[in-house]
Symmetry: C2
């Protein structure tokens, strides 16, 4: 069954009735895959009754979360991300670890499907009993997709997975969304280096805790080594996120299965260094608080847009401000006094 067909089957099962929270939580804790899939479908659903159960389930399972190593994988199309994710995932399961692969792809809301977390592109890993692959949820907005993926991550941890990988292709701000929920951000690049016409999207290099230059095999080895040097130079110029971890650049060939153990060593080294310095706990606490504020902001904005007077006025205000006919401060005040009532001086 493809990922999409499976989700449809789960939705049909759910529409027959809302599951019992305690039972479902127990089944998830036991690592039962069908229960996990059902729980994630609940979390992804926009139906009010499903959402209510989903949140109760998350509260129930919260003490069982946080135990996995959370890694974000970002790479432009063509860099070999699916091949790398599969090779890396299989490397980990061969060591007896349980690996989950989730994805953030906001475009899936529009196309109705996603190439990320697509089992057909990672057939071997998809059939591995110690691996769990889930396509990106759709969600309308990046915020909606990110929340659902984050909640799926918590469920997957409660189900006992050791490593959670969250993939993104780099549409819009999806890298930042991934970086905001993982412990380590891994940027996958191709050997083109500075000759690449496109270059790395601004702001992405500074997110990286590790850069992996893939396709470092055969004719491309010299180019890969040059690229590695260029990226090391760039990283060296930037202030590191933490005193205890200096981002590094590794070479790998997913196709040949080379470099994977070095990548895993780096991931473990990062995890150890941050944990011992108390930085991992601090990072996760900050991420959780930031997530709460994002949800508060989205709620306030949704309330604003739901206000008919505000949504009538907004396009006019944006146009006036863009054309320099109104100061942004005055425009903001007009909107706020409409929604909050009673003009407040700034």
């Amino acid at each position: 069954m493809s990922g999409t067909e499976q989700k449809q089957a789960e939705r049909r099962a759910l529409s027959r009735g809302v599951p019992d929270v305690g039972e479902l939580a127990r089944a998830v804790r036991e690592g039962r895959r069908a229960a996990l899939a059902r729980a994630i479908t609940l979390v992804e659903s926009s139906r009010a009754d499903h959402q209510e159960v989903a949140q109760k389930l998350l509260v129930e399972l919260l003490p069982d979360t946080g135990k996995a190593i959370r890694i974000g994988f970002s790479g432009a199309p063509g860099v070999g991300k699916s091949t790398f994710t599969e090779a890396f995932g299989c490397y980990l399961t061969a060591q007896g670890l349980k690996v989950a692969v989730l994805a953030i792809d906001p475009s899936s809301a529009r196309t109705g499907g996603s190439i990320l977390g697509d089992k057909t592109r990672m057939e071997m890993l998809a059939r591995d009993p110690n691996a769990f692959i889930r396509p990106s949820p759709s969600g309308g907005t990046l915020g909606g997709v990110a929340r659902r993926t984050r909640e799926a991550m918590l469920l997957v941890e409660a189900a006992g997975f050791d490593v959670v990988i969250i993939e993104t292709v780099g549409v819009g701000q999806s890298e930042t969304a991934v970086a905001d929920m993982v412990d380590m951000f891994l940027l996958l690049l191709s050997p083109g280096g500075g000759d690449e016409l496109q270059g790395i999207k601004r702001g992405i290099m500074e997110l990286a805790d590790l850069i992996v230059v893939n396709k470092a095999d055969g004719d491309l080895i010299p180019a890969a080594k040059r690229a590695r040097l260029e990226y090391k130079t760039a990283l060296h110029l930037m202030r590191p996120k933490y005193p205890v971890w200096a981002p590094d650049v590794l070479l790998a060939s997913a196709l040949k299965g080379e470099g994977l153990s070095e990548v895993w060593e780096a991931v473990q080294g990062h995890h150890k260094a941050l944990s011992e310095a108390g930085e991992l706990a601090r990072l996760r606490a900050e991420q959780a608080q930031a997530w709460m504020w994002t949800e508060i902001r989205e709620g306030l904005f949704a309330a604003l847009k739901a206000d008919k007077r505000a949504s009538d006025l907004l396009p006019e205000l944006e146009k006036a401000v863009a054309e320099g006919r109104e100061t942004p401060t005055i425009a903001a005040r007009r909107l706020l006094s409409l929604v909050l009532g009673g003009g407040k001086a700034g």
Copy 2:
């Protein structure tokens, strides 16, 4: 008179009565410095009656704004920013241009003064009749300081200045605040390059439209050239902001007055390239809209924090979320239903 003494004198003058908007606008348009200083003090004041006049004044002068080249200057302490700003400013006034120097330094709210825009550090420029230097406003929050500086920038443009420089030392997110209001972001660095223990704050390099390696004189020339090469490599790896402008790295010695004409050529080249491609108008329109949304967000947040029930609940929520006792989604919903009333399903 120092900048602080001048501001105190202006405040005393203002407290005697609120000026007439039409008169003040006329005087500002004529380029009269005392009127400009009074207008900026009005904009910086938090008194409700002052703010009302300030906003009316800005609306009146809005058609006269937008005519200057807006440059942001950022540099860590020790890089020679005051020396560079003064040398560059004097270079411009010598060509018959009128130059204004403003500043964003959120710490000035706490220390009661700022080293930025400090006339005592740029004595020659401060005495130049074609230059106008203003210390950073205090404002409590970065948002408050940024708004006041932005509004001061509009006033300075209406007064006929050709170039507006906005300085920042790089405290918190002040570089982003500056980048959000200028046409071109210039990053000033020292010749230390990759050997600098600190490195460049993450995210700053990607803001830069131009990097200037200062102190490129005497013994430091070899180091400056190496640094230039390293920064060029790093910039080359990143996707440019615009197709029509590739960020460059220049060498300069503010002390010796070298490299200044090249910097000005680059500034003019950037302005021309963006204007001809329609990118300058687009950038400014986007900045104005983003500013409006920032003001809306701040207004909504202020209303939230002013709500006693919300401000009582918040610390408890933040703690519960940081400690993993509550899901961020549930915490956000608790707050929102308190403030908005009637739980909404996500």
